[in-house]
Amino acid sequence: MNHTAAGSTLYGLMAEFEDPTALVEAARRTYDEGYRRFDSFSPFPIHEVFAAMHLEDRRVPWLVLGGGITGLLAGLGLQVWVSAYAYPLNIGGRPLLSWPMFVPVTFELTILFAALAAVFGMFILNGLPMPYHPVFNVPRFTAHASQDSFFLAIEAVDPKFDRQGTRAFLQGLGAKEVNDVEE
């Protein structure tokens, strides 16, 4: 197992880059080099990075679709059950299953469930909330990642990871500096 100078386990190596362009280039070359357990960090979303890392997670849209369908069925089901079975009101012989009058509430609940699925689905798939993560152990990261700098971290669990080799590789990408990330 890899250990840092302080004696704790090594999570991986982190390189810092000057600007978005350098990060995109680094992400592309890291992926092409065969690394898969790595991540880029930026203070705002960069679409070119997603493309360079071949990120394509379609689960959020599917969750939203599922949420929407659930809301639709729940809304319609509730109103039909209440209005036609649980509490039928005969008002001048008007139909109990007056479905056009159920459209607004069905619509609102469809939107509500879909929106809840989008937000909670996104946070759960992202593994958040997660107050602690090894990357926060790098002082440069805590001071700049959420503000004005760009980082790329390769995890030690990646099969291609080799402490000296990976460090040299990251430095070769034009990193400003490369740091150990303690577990």
Partner: protein, 466 residues
Amino acid sequence: MDSKLDAYALSRDDYNPPPLIEPGHTFGSVTEQIAAIVLTRRHPYSWVFGLFVGFMLSMMLLMAITWLLIKGTGIWGVNVPVGWGFAIINFVWWIGIGHAGTLISAILLLLKQDWRTSINRFAEAMTLFAVVCAGIFPLIHTGRPWLAAYWLLPYPNTMSIWPQFRSPLIWDIFAVSTYLTVSLLFWYVGLVPDLATLRDRAKSLHIRRLFGLLALGWRGSARHWERYEAAYLLLAGLSTPLVLSVHTVVSFDFAIGIIPGWHATIFPPYFVAGAIYAGFAMVLTLAIPLRVLYGLQDFLTMRHLENMGKVMLVTGLIVGYGYVMEAFFGFYSANRYEEYMILNRMTGPYWPFYWTLILCNILTPQFLWIKSVRTSPIKLFLIAMVVNVGMWLERFVIVITSLHRDFLPSSWGMYWPTRWDLMTFFGTIGLFVTLFFLFVRVLPMISIFEMRTVVPAAKVRGGKAH
């Protein structure tokens, strides 16, 4: 013909809109300038003064509500034939104001209008606070809000009774509570990366912990950003039909009834346009003083103000069309009650309200055709204030003039608000001001991470996305 098209294409290519952010900004300077308002800068005395006024008015609201709960709705001006008074007027006015926030955050996002970036955060906050103010009225107008639970919400109760799902008032409950929930989610999701920035910049341990808790451990990972953007875009796509549906449902409160002056098919689109109109007026009312007080002219540029002026002009014209159609269908209906209602609205005892409304909502915004008006913050602010008043008058006119002369002259009457009505109304303005001033103090009022994307350095050189 061809040369004309070519000239058009050329002018399109040559068109270089003014920048969304003043030149010379970097990721660091944007972050520093917006985060400092929350973390380090002293707040102007006008902030303290504004909060004080808002807080006092909120206390007045509490007093008015307390007295209402003790005495009942008899303390208000409502009576036969005007059973709907200030409560519904103020509810519709507030909920309409909220609509601009969602329009800015959702519809302008889908249309790739990147000027929304500087205004979406506080416009969304405005939406939330306006919906909170709006929600107070339907709750308290029942007089016994603790009983309202089983009138409004479908839950199994010991009396085995259920709400009437064919009533637009129940649709309202679902529309408004969904709107509040989705707006809150949208706002919070947008805040998470900025909360992480504040966490990393905070000097004090307690503040760092507080923001850290709210930021959920956000670390700006590309894998997270990818899902984040998907979710954010989907939320925008969901909010767009939602915002249109909310004021449509609100207009159903009127349009489903058979009262002359309410029973009109023009109501849903005309209410939605009016809502956006009122909302943009309120965004300008808030944005123009804020940018001066906190020195945000670099981010809230003249271009933003001018664009908002244009949106107001367009929606104002749609609203004007709505008024014309209302009058036209009144006379064209060949129904004596409809004819009388519209005549009474224009020439009856409430005529000053109607004509002031036309002056505020149709005539005044015509000044926005002039570029020098659109690019003058003071003139824009004055027009926005006039529209705020005008949109309130619109709801007053729709509610009161349609009700006060019933079908039989024996049941005619007049409606005037009592002091408790007025205290409740101005109290909600105070609550809105209080919430907004606190928001400006504790959260970044401009989305920091989205502002970083409009900094020139954010463009990836030589690459194309996807």
